[in-house]
Amino acid sequence: MDLLAQPWSLSPSVALRPEPFGALAYHFGNRRLTFLKRPELVAVVRALGEHPTVASALVACHIPAAQHAAYAEALTGLARTDMIRPRSQGAAA
């Protein structure tokens, strides 16, 4: 599965609370809590739903290409706990 080539979005069950380090993500369904430790990652997570792929969201948020793998790994971690969800092609924003 190539997450970078797929459309994803923030889960509707997740609230992002801005923090000095980035944001705190809380999932109201599974009660999971995750620190997003970079403001740039918060911007990416917020932008996911507005872009056709994760990769295009990273580019739009000016994430250097050398960091895309790390962001993809972090986003995979967020997907594991349903913080972000795959978006069907027909449901693009």
Partner: protein, 32 residues
């Protein structure tokens, strides 16, 4: 010493652990 031989870009060495950290909500009692 040539700086180009030792210079590394710390941003390029970013890892997922630098970006996210899952925490136990039980450990947050009294904080949030």
């Amino acid at each position: 010493m040539n700086p180009e031989d030792t210079a590394t870009d710390p941003e390029a060495a970013l890892t997922a652990e630098d970006l996210i950290e899952e925490v136990s909500i039980d450990g947050m009692c009294g904080v949030y």
